[in-house]
């Protein structure tokens, strides 16, 4: 059987605005039917990347292929791409139904098929009966759904989402993430989603690309990305992570010992290090155990004494910020999920922290 080409393919794509490099040599390909999320802080170039795929910007160099065909010469209105814009960009002078009808008219669908398609897609986004509402008469969540229906009604090859959920409040945002997932699975449309919200990326995607400063940092499925971040940026961007800087004193297999201030920590090295090299260690807050003073945790590789400097109650968990004198001024963050018997550590309490070697990820210093 012949392998079909990837639906979207970026080959060495760069975009410069004057001297500013918005996208730096991006490469990736996306198989038909999957959901890709481009995750990164604002200004990392993720929206520019999306706008190049949509055709609103053209790459300074490199090539974008859709269905195996280069699309440089194809204007946006001839690309089979539906897009949900960050601010939705619904047509304010039209009703919900007219908004969904618009792409069908512009793309010359047979007029007799249009009303049925509009009904069908309004049904899919659960807005049946809202056809004649004006846009400003709809709630934020409903407007969101109209925008999705408009982007999907003409059955595009590709759906682009430019942070459309960022303006919603947390509860509605989480509802809409699941809603997107439901609609995507129902229709099976290939989707590229852009966001700075790591939770959204983890919930919605088959694959995640992390971007920073215009460059792709890592491309992986959500689980691998979370468990095996390939560099310091990815490790610190996803999850609540504490960072410690030090100098390598010994390496043995994948274990590396490095000196931080007045102590030596053991960590898990992704690459080979030289003795004397500057490194950074990253430990996720949920991998650190916190114990009352004088308890000696067993079977833990790194054990440190510290003082609670901040204590934040988040309902389902407690977040502690702990200062360890042996690490200098770097704080360590700890999640404590223990609903049955919270041993509350107050601000100023002495505590003992511990974690396993495999959970402290060591990267070369940037």
């Amino acid at each position: 059987m012949e392998n079909s080409p990837p639906l979207v393919e970026l080959i060495d794509v760069s975009k410069r605005f004057g001297r500013f490099i918005a996208v730096d040599n991006a490469n990736f390909s996306l198989a038909k039917g999957s959901v890709l999320t481009i995750l990164g802080p604002s200004g990392c170039g993720k929206t520019t990347l999306l706008r190049m795929i949509a055709g609103f910007e053209s790459p300074t160099s490199g090539e974008i292929r859709i269905n195996g065909e280069p699309v440089q010469a194809v204007p946006p209105y001839r690309r089979s791409i539906g897009m949900v814009f960050q601010n939705l960009a619904l047509f304010p002078h039209m009703t919900a139904g007219e908004n969904v009808t618009y792409p069908l008219k512009m793309r010359r669908f047979p007029p007799q098929d249009i009303p049925e398609l509009v009904e069908r897609y309004l049904g899919i986004v659960r807005l049946t009966g809202m056809k004649d509402r004006r846009i400003h008469e709809l709630s934020g969540g409903q407007q969101q759904r109209v925008a999705i229906a408009r982007a999907l009604s003409f059955n595009p090859d590709l759906l682009l989402l430019d942070e459309p959920l960022s303006a919603l409040d947390k509860k509605l945002r989480e509802e809409m993430q699941l809603e997107f997932r439901r609609i995507q699975q129902k229709i099976g449309v290939t989707t590229i989603n852009v966001t700075h919200d790591q939770r959204e990326a983890l919930v919605m995607s088959d694959e995640i690309i992390v971007m920073a400063d215009g460059a792709i940092q890592q491309s992986a499925d959500p689980v691998s990305l979370y468990r095996h971040p390939s560099n310091m940026f990815v490790a610190s961007f996803i999850g609540l992570t504490s960072l410690v800087k030090g100098t390598v004193v010994q390496t043995e297999g994948t274990t590396v010992e490095f000196n931080v201030d007045s102590t030596i920590l053991c960590g898990n090295a992704g690459s080979r290090f030289e003795v004397g090299q500057s490194v950074e260690g990253a430990i996720r807050a949920e991998q650190v155990r916190i114990h009352p003073e004088q308890t000696r945790p067993e079977e833990m590789d790194n054990v440190l004494e510290g003082v609670v400097s901040e204590q934040i109650f988040e309902g389902d968990r407690m977040v502690y910020q702990v200062q360890c004198p042996s690490l200098g001024s770097t704080p360590i963050f700890v999640f404590d999920h223990d609903p049955t018997h919270h041993v509350l550590h107050r601000k100023g309490d002495s505590v003992v922290l511990s974690w396993n070697v495999r959970d402290l990820l060591v990267y070369p210093c940037r």
Binding site: R78, N87, A89, F91, H93, M106
Partner: protein, 266 residues
């Protein structure tokens, strides 16, 4: 307690003073137009509509009125495409010499009307169209165009700049996207600007004074000419017709787009 009361008293006094000051000329003219006497006076002598009745008999004023209407319609018709496209272009696209262009388009506003009028008179004389009516409409369009551009700009700036991309994404080629999305979006500004242009042209005096002669005289100029001979209450009646037309335009504006946008656009 006393402080607040005296403050509110002072505020109200100022508001009423301003209101009276602003509307006094209008009230006097309206009052005077209903007089039964033969001279313009306030308060009027008795009450009658005889001067309004006589208006229809004054062929000079009637002809001048229709000429003014014609000139105003030309001015409005030219300013709608010119002002709309200029405003959208200046607000949306990165154009070379954008600032210079902006200044150039707003220039007529900064030049004294006497100078504009004189300049246009000389120019129209040179190209031998002085004495015709339509160039007056064009001139009024030129000197008032900044108002049209401002009104449309306010609408363009309020319009989501992504809408055109959204239209393209939906499959609309640029021209179609412009006609179906951009233009309806700026319509409130276009309507506001068009009504404003109409009223301004309808009332314009100074430039028209330079550009018209006895055969092409417009209503404001015609009124001015009669003041210099005999002042009769029919002048007051003509003025009231003027006020009514302006008032209708404002009502129309409120009905079509709401006065809120009109006030915000300034």
């Amino acid at each position: 307690m006393t402080g607040t009361r005296s403050k509110s008293f002072v505020l109200w006094a100022i508001v009423w003073f301003d209101l009276i000051l602003l509307s006094l000329p209008t009230i006097i003219i309206i009052g005077a137009s209903f007089t039964t006497g033969d001279i313009v006076q306030f308060p009027p002598e008795g009450f009658s509509l005889k001067w309004y009745g006589k208006l229809w008999l004054l062929d000079d004023f009637k002809a001048a009125f229709f000429r003014t209407l014609y000139v105003s319609l030309i001015c409005t018709a030219v300013s709608i495409p010119a002002g709309t496209l200029a405003a959208i272009g200046l607000a949306r696209y990165r154009i070379h010499f954008q600032t210079s262009l902006q200044v150039y388009l707003l220039l007529p506003f900064t030049i004294p009307l006497v100078v504009s009028g004189l300049g246009m008179m000389i120019f129209f004389g040179d190209i031998r169209i002085l004495g015709q009516l339509w160039p007056v409409g064009i001139s009024l369009c030129i000197i008032n165009l900044p108002f049209m551009i401002w009104a449309v700009s306010a609408s363009v700036n309020g319009l989501d700049y992504q809408l055109e991309n959204a239209a393209a994404n939906c499959g609309a080629p640029p021209l179609q996207g412009f006609l179906t999305v951009t233009l309806p979006g700026v319509m409130p500004g276009v309507i506001t600007g068009a009504l404003l242009m109409f009223i301004l042209a309808f009332n314009e005096f100074l430039v028209s004074l330079f550009l018209t002669d006895a055969r092409t005289v417009t209503l404001p100029v015609s009124i001015y000419n009669s003041i210099r001979s005999v002042i009769t209450p029919d002048l007051a009646a003509v003025s009231v017709v003027y006020i009514v037309i302006a008032f209708i335009a404002v009502l129309l504006l409120d009905k079509l787009v709401g006065l809120e946008l009109f006030l915000k656009s300034k």
